[in-house]
């Protein structure tokens, strides 16, 4: 570590730096995280740009609460509703975690639509970000399918008949409808297989697809950068006229990207 310094403070900093350097040398993770967290964004981003992160947070809430609920839920027709009652009424904090999952589902869907509206109204779907819009639409459809499969799981009258109607709406699709409905039901009638099938889809298959798509979505966001709002006075693709303030140190030491501030060539 090429650091000139003596005294207790320098010693402490070296001690803190050592594990980070160790990790960085072997994995490049520190640099990667620094790149992700301290990348440049347009100076005139606003609160509207936080809707995507909010959606991601809502998804993480669903992930965590769902994993815990799966410890107590029993996906078969004789026990499903009983186990939901057990979670809500008997288990310590069960009402809270189930409530977070239940209401968080709506929050997740609403935030997805708001994020989509922001991207649309800001024109942020345009070149070169079209592919990320497409991935986002796939995320919306996958997220709605999470809602559909999760709705059956409490297995009360509302859940059962809402799912009957939803499956039969799929059944009215031309040509493939009868097969689509049967594929969703896992048979000719809604029965035990339908419930466990929806449970598996809801907690394994569809979340896996969601996580993969979110990874792709974020990769494209980082690669392409955040777009300026439509009222931005900065010309797209040009360096700023204003010299940015000195960059903050990130993860103990200033990152390589913060070292040199690019200026316009005329200066």
């Amino acid at each position: 570590m090429p650091r000139n310094g003596s005294g207790r403070g320098a010693q402490l900093q070296r001690a803190a730096q050592y594990p980070l350097d160790w990790l960085e040398e072997r994995s490049g993770l520190v640099g990667g995280i620094r790149y992700f967290l301290f990348r440049k964004v347009p100076g005139d981003t606003s609160w509207w740009h936080t809707l995507g992160s909010a959606t991601l947070t809502a998804f993480l809430v669903q992930l965590v609460t769902g994993v815990i609920l799966a410890m107590y839920y029993k996906p078969d027709p004789r026990n499903a509703h009983e186990s939901i009652n057990h979670i809500t009424n008997d288990l310590t904090l069960g009402w809270l975690v189930r409530g977070m999952h239940r209401w968080g589902a709506s929050v997740f869907i609403i935030l997805m639509f708001m994020h989509m509206g922001r991207v649309f109204l800001f024109g942020a779907y345009k070149y070169p970000r079209e592919l990320n819009w497409i991935v986002g639409v796939l995320l919306l459809a996958t997220g709605l399918f999470e809602g559909l499969t999760g709705y059956l799981l409490p297995f009360d009258q509302t859940a059962y008949w809402a799912t009957v109607v939803a499956i039969n709406i799929n059944g009215t699709a031309p040509f493939v409808g009868p097969f689509l409905a049967q594929l969703l039901r896992g048979g000719a009638e809604i029965g035990p297989d339908t419930l466990s099938r929806f449970y598996s889809l809801h907690m394994l298959l569809v979340p896996g697809a969601l996580i993969a798509l979110i990874g792709l979505h974020l990769y494209l966001v980082v690669r392409l950068g955040v777009s300026s709002p439509p009222w931005s006075r900065q010309a797209a693709g040009r360096d700023s006229d204003v010299e940015p303030p000195p960059s903050r140190a990130g993860l103990v030491t200033p990152g390589p990207r913060a070292a040199g501030v690019r200026r316009r060539p005329s200066e």
Binding site: V164, P178, I190
Partner: protein
């Protein structure tokens, strides 16, 4: 690799101290189960060797080569891949199928085969059981005497008793009396022809006269009713007359019906079939019937062309 800092620092000399340290830890853990003095010995070994190891690391160690007085032979600089001789002979110009392309192709093909062997059975298990072995269930509704002539009954039963209550279905049954010496029944499924909600009777339900009999299909509950206004769906307002003809709302056809037979004086339900419309009523009704279709699917008219093949029921 360029000369990043640390590339030449991380070469600790060979050392036996970590081995001794590991032996001490194992001894300590075994001792926790076996006996306290084994644990003590293990702890002592671990402390001693750990100290020696730490001291060696702290002092930078004693490289062996320096001790023997020889100069360490520096490694020959690596030849960049694009310089020097190729590791393998260049393919002859004009050779159409070099070895590397063969290996690339076989690797991809083998990977594809392994992927298919793993994926196809799993995908098959996910999809196929829903389409194969859809067995029809005969349903025993008990003695025919429970169904008086020209009276409507709401009958609920377990279609597949092995599945339990989740397979409880409902039918509206009316005994039409004898037709040419044969019993005649009107047996209407309560599955709405719009989107499958449970259709209700449009009239009083005499729940105090409910009768429960035990058959092979669980508790069969028979409740008299007077569906004066026909049958009405609570979900989206579909309305049917007493023969199951659509009279209002979104349904695309009439209510489905059950085939029936009478075996040893018992009313047995067979499979269900779809109905476009019914002319007449009771035992003289003319039923325009089709193969069972899902709710919301037309069975007649030009829209029925959208559902040419039904999934196996």
């Amino acid at each position: 690799m360029d000369d990043r800092p640390g590339d030449d620092q991380q070469l600790p000399p060979p050392s036996l101290w970590p081995v001794g340290f590991a032996v001490g830890i194992v001894c300590l853990l075994v001792g926790l189960i076996v006996s306290w003095w084994v644990a003590a010995v293990g702890a002592a070994i671990a402390v001693v060797f750990g100290f020696l190891w730490a001291r060696e690391v702290a002092t930078g160690g004693t490289p062996r080569l320096a001790a023997t007085g020889e100069e360490p032979v520096p490694d020959a600089p690596a030849v960049p891949a694009h310089e020097g001789e190729a590791a393998m002979p260049e393919p002859e110009p004009g050779e159409r199928f070099p070895r590397s392309r063969f290996l690339e192709g076989t690797t991809l093909a083998l990977g594809g085969v392994i992927g298919a062997i793993v994926t196809l059975p799993a995908a098959g298990l996910a999809v196929l059981p829903g389409f194969t072995k859809q067995k029809g269930h005969e349903v025993d509704l008990g003695p025919v005497e429970d169904f008086e002539e020209n009276k409507w009954k709401v009958v609920t039963f377990l279609q597949d008793p092995s599945q339990g209550e989740v397979s409880r279905r409902t039918a509206f049954v009316r005994n039409n009396g004898l037709l040419d010496g044969e019993p005649s029944f009107t047996i209407i499924s309560n599955r709405c022809a719009h989107l499958g909600c449970p259709v209700q009777t449009g009239g009083p339900l005499f729940q105090k006269q409910e009768k429960t009999i035990k058959t092979a299909n669980g508790d069969v509950r028979i409740t008299p009713t007077l569906p004066a206004a026909g049958f009405i769906c609570p979900c989206h307002g579909g309305a049917y007359d007493q023969e199951g003809n659509r009279i209002a709302g979104p349904p695309v056809r009439g209510l489905d019906r059950y085939q029936f037979s009478i075996v040893n004086g018992k009313l047995i339900l067979g499979s269900t079939y779809s109905v476009a419309h019914v002319d007449g009523s009771g035992k003289s009704a003319k039923i325009t019937s089709y193969e069972l279709a899902g709710p919301g699917q037309h069975v007649d008219g030009i829209e029925s062309w959208m559902y040419p093949i039904q999934a196996p029921h």
